[in-house]
């Protein structure tokens, strides 16, 4: 096969590409991350590149304008290499719109799109004492009696006998690896060893046998694997203490921003493998950062609990997700038996265990089960709602007697992705905004009071609400006034929240009409799904006693403003409880308690899945919600018109 050299500018990176390979795949092999929301189908138009030199062949599409064609603009996904090329990739076509410093760029190109950052989890609203302390992996120090002629049972049975003094284990299993080294280990170390026990489905497994007493070093990890964001937490299994929490964008974003595009991508050659590697790379990076910062030996990390939506878990385990999107929407598995973490490519102790929180259906996954667990929705006397605001939003309505869940594809806007100045809720993210109603001047505060770098989900909620109140945007989300902060941009009018001089950054922090449209759709999807679910159960909002709001919003969410923009229903403010990342909290409970794990299994079986798309009123309800706060203003009586 003929090969050509493709040079990407301004990075000045050259890769070899076979004839007829797309520019997009050449860029991926060069480590450059081009926007490709549609997964390379030529639909989203976000991968525009400029071919400065060389021959290409491009499929016709309706996205490139005649003017752009004259300027040699092509869609990277539909354009194939026919000679040596020089290709300029404009910033707007790169993943993440932030202007990057060279250091940051290098970091991203080194394999990660953004470095895992520390995040501060929301303070727990619930006492941790719900479940008894019985971690997923337990270490027991044993001093075995030396065998004698009168006590001559085998080494392994001797070990079991000692263990049984600690409890009635239904069955104990041991891998050949451990048995092979047992005899020598016991004798070399004077019959003093630490046994790591893991609960593996209905049996207890001896995961590891170490010399001496290592019980003090027993750690576990819990993960929330989101479509857009992956969060991980390192926990001391003895003290239940959280040592650190980190979050970063899921590297799979390069293959599409929603689960459907990723499922489609998984069906392509090597697609599943690439997606699998992207998620495990992201997780391993978080693990590496956490253990090295806390000076912990990777071998002392003995177990991982993961919660994620069904597609994310399929991709993590390299299971074929293709039937999730085909009628009748059946996943390969909802209940995953406990596996070895290494089988999934997660780097902890090579014999460490992995538990995936069981899911409910193809579109309501273990993250929802974990959320129900940590919010304790299943114990409430009266009907309550859990709203998990994420790329794949989930809503659960229920109490101790029933639980019904639905999924709403909300998109990544509230996670700070797919919006021009968006970022995760981490240091430097604008999270509170006030706009002066007369001169439109902006006051804001950032996470950790760092220099502003972008806007996170809670910042966008504040911003939209303030822009509505100041009359900067109309109820449809179009900018309707003039001013020094308002100007015409590529994607409609834009409002500058923070000029680059103030922020001391390379570009202005702004919101444009396309961003507002994006956020409007996200909030509309969440609200309309909630409204339909309530209506479907013949309830109304007034009969709901509490609404738990979960999501990666950092530490702050202004309920008043979330109602103002129509993301949340207009109810007594005291009914709302913001609980942060409920999926991560739930998986931590499972990590720390066998009871919690059993409860999660029971919950996943108990939750009834409700398919929104079969409700005839769904489209109507959704388009009604594409307005601030809502087309039916009578539903938002406390929002002043």
């Amino acid at each position: 096969m003929q090969k050509f050299k493709v040079t990407f500018l301004p990075d000045n990176l050259t890769v070899e590409a076979e004839k007829d390979k797309t520019i997009l795949s050449a860029a991926i092999s060069a480590g450059i991350n081009i926007n490709s929301n549609c997964g390379g189908d030529g639909i989203c138009g976000r991968c525009k590149v400029i071919v400065n030199e060389g021959q290409v062949s491009s499929q016709p599409n309706g996205i490139i304008t005649p003017q752009e064609r004259k300027n040699n603009v092509y869609l990277a996904c539909l354009t194939t290499v026919h000679s040596d090329l020089k290709v300029l990739i404009p910033d707007s076509s790169r993943i993440n719109f932030d202007k990057l410093t060279p250091e940051e760029l290098e970091e991203r190109l080194s394999g990660l799109y953004s470095k895992a950052e520390d995040i501060q989890p929301v303070k727990e609203k619930f006492e941790d004492k719900v479940f008894t302390h019985s971690p997923f992996a337990t270490k027991i120090y044993l001093e075995l009696p030396e065998p004698t002629l009168n006590d001559s049972i085998s080494d392994l049975e001797r070990l079991y006998r000692a263990l049984r003094q600690y409890g009635e284990f239904p069955a104990i299993a041991t891998g050949l690896f451990n048995i092979r080294q047992l005899g020598e280990l016991l004798r070399d170390y004077d019959w003093k060893v630490t046994v790591t026990l893991g609960r593996r489905n209905e049996t207890v497994e001896i995961v590891l046998i170490e010399p001496g007493d290592t019980t003090a070093n027993n750690y576990g990890l819990c993960f929330d694997i989101g479509t857009t964001t992956i969060s991980g937490q390192l926990v001391d299994l003895n003290s239940k203490k959280i040592l650190g929490t980190k979050a970063t964008y899921n590297q799979q974003a390069a293959f599409g921003s929603d689960v459907i595009t990723r499922i489609v991508y998984a069906a392509k050659t090597d697609g599943l493998e690439k997606l699998h590697n992207a998620v495990t790379d992201t997780m391993n990076q978080i693990i590496k950062d956490l253990v090295s910062e806390h000076r912990i030996d990777l071998n002392s990390v003995n177990c991982v609990v993961c919660s994620g939506n069904t597609t994310m878990i399929h991709l993590l385990l390299s299971m074929d997700p293709s039937h999730i999107r085909r009628q009748p929407y059946v996943p390969t598995a909802n209940f995953i038996p406990v596996l070895r973490a290494a089988e999934a490519g997660i780097n902890i102790n090579p014999r460490g265990l992995l538990n995936c929180v069981p899911g409910v259906s193809s579109y309501v996954g273990g993250d929802t089960t974990a959320g129900v667990l940590s919010s304790r929705l299943y114990q409430k006397e009266e009907a309550c709602i859990l709203i998990d605001i994420g790329t794949n939003g989930e809503i659960v309505l229920g109490n101790k007697d029933f639980l019904v869940a639905c999924a709403a594809s909300a998109g990544p806007a509230f996670e700070g992705s797919g919006v021009s100045s968006g970022m995760r809720a981490s240091s430097g993210a604008i999270q509170k905004v006030n706009i002066d109603k007369k001169d439109f001047s902006v006051k804001y505060s950032t996470i950790q009071d760092a220099a502003p770098r972008g806007i996170c989900g809670s910042g966008y909620i504040d911003l939209l609400s303030e822009m509505l109140d100041a009359g900067i945007i109309d109820k449809a989300g179009k900018i309707k006034v003039e001013g020094k902060r308002i100007r015409q941009g590529e994607n409609g009018k834009e409002f500058v929240v923070c000029f680059k001089e103030e922020a001391n950054s390379e570009s202005d922090i702004l919101i444009n009409e396309a961003d507002i449209e994006n956020l409007k759709r996200s909030k509309g999807a969440i609200y309309s799904a909630t409204a339909i679910l309530v209506r479907h159960l013949a309830l109304d909002f007034s009969s709901v006693s509490k609404i738990f709001i979960a999501g990666g919003f950092g530490t702050y969410l202004d309920i008043e403003k979330a109602i103002r923009i129509g993301l949340l229903p207009d109810l007594e403010r005291s009914k709302f409880v913001f609980i942060g990342n409920s999926s991560l909290a739930g998986s931590r409970q499972i990590l720390l308690s066998a009871q919690a794990r059993d409860m999660a299994d029971a919950l996943a079986q108990k939750i009834t899945y409700f398919e929104l798309s079969v409700d005839p009123g769904y489209m109507d309800e959704y388009s009604q919600s594409l307005f601030f706060p809502h087309t039916d203003l009578t539903r938002f009586p406390t929002v002043r018109a």
């Binding site: 109820k475 109507d620 388009s623 307005f627 087309t631």
Partner: protein, 313 residues
């Protein structure tokens, strides 16, 4: 035994919009017209008030019609090429009480007349033709934003119905209509939610809801008429149930849609029937103003309205 008539009682009422201002009202029109005002579903005379008959308007252009069906052109004769004469024929010969002037000649592809030329034409039109007037732009958003303020100002105090505001482009037109004392056409793409949102956006700018007429966008018979029908029906049900933001009369551009149907072009009689049937169906679903093209269809529908209202009274 006689079956008692089950009557529905509605809390809402459709707003009444007046088109045209006479000399006493500060304008120069020969008469003014009222539309809307219903307090029942269409034509249910026993259930509530249906005070105003649906009104028919002839569609006329500011230039010779370029894409009109030959049958329509034949019905007017070659005088149709002079817009002012065309308008006079509508009024004098076919007894039109209302005209809909489309400023097609301002469209960049159909003559690209300047805002000044357009305003001058509207002034001339108003001084020659005395019936109340609907004025619509050419449909090119950016050009309409220049042309329509000029036309609106040229027709100041004549209380015209001016269109069309759409969701992405309503501010310029609303401001002009507000300043010059007209009413506005709010056009939505066969979507009840957008119709409602647009009404809210326009009224948020200070134009009272009572000065808005909804163009729900219609399809001709066989081309989506039933979608338009059900959207109009739903909007009416909501309005009569008390939703003031949907309580606007409807304007339906029947002629332009009916004559696009390929069935309308197969033979002359069929075209006329296509326009007649599309219009009479829309009257059943609550149309208040119907913009027509062919004189025969116009007469057919006129007679039909008379019959309906005779039966009702």
């Amino acid at each position: 035994m006689e079956t008692p008539l089950v009557l529905e009682k509605w809390p809402g009422v459709i707003s009444t919009v007046t088109i045209g201002a006479t000399a006493q009202e500060g304008g120069t029109r020969s008469h003014s017209l009222k539309i809307g005002g219903q307090s029942s579903m269409p034509l249910l005379f026993k259930e509530g008030a249906n005070p105003n008959k649906p009104k028919l308007a002839f569609e006329v252009w500011d230039v010779a019609p370029s894409d009109f069906d030959e049958e329509v052109i034949k019905a007017f004769g070659k005088e149709i090429n002079d817009p002012l004469v065309w308008a006079e024929i509508c009024v004098n010969k076919f007894k039109a009480e209302l005209l809909c002037l489309k400023m097609q000649g301002t469209h960049p592809d159909f003559g690209n007349k300047s805002p000044e030329e357009a305003a001058k034409f509207v002034s001339a039109f108003l001084s020659k033709v005395k019936v109340p007037l609907i004025i619509t732009g050419s449909g090119d958003d950016s050009k309409d934003n220049l042309v329509m303020p000029a036309c609106s100002e040229a027709a100041k105090k004549e209380r015209c119905l001016v269109g069309s505001a759409v969701q992405d482009n309503y501010k310029t037109l609303t401001a002009s209509v507000l300043a010059d004392g007209h009413s506005i056409i709010a056009e939505s793409p066969i979507d009840i939610n957008i119709a409602k949102q647009l009404n809210i956006l326009i009224s948020d700018m200070g134009l009272p809801l009572e000065r808005i007429v909804i163009d729900p966008t219609i399809g001709a018979l066989g081309y989506g008429l039933e979608y338009a029908y059900s959207i109009m029906e739903r909007a009416r049900l909501a309005a009569l149930s008390g939703d003031k933001t949907l309580a606007s009369p409807f304007i339906c551009f029947v002629g332009q849609e009916a004559w696009r149907a390929k069935e309308a072009k197969t033979n002359p009689e069929q075209g006329i029937m296509w326009e007649t049937l599309t219009a009479s169906n829309l009257i059943q679903s609550g149309a208040d103003v119907l913009v027509m093209r062919h004189p025969k269809a116009f007469t057919n529908v006129s007679n039909y309205i008379e019959e309906l209202f005779n039966l009702g009274s």
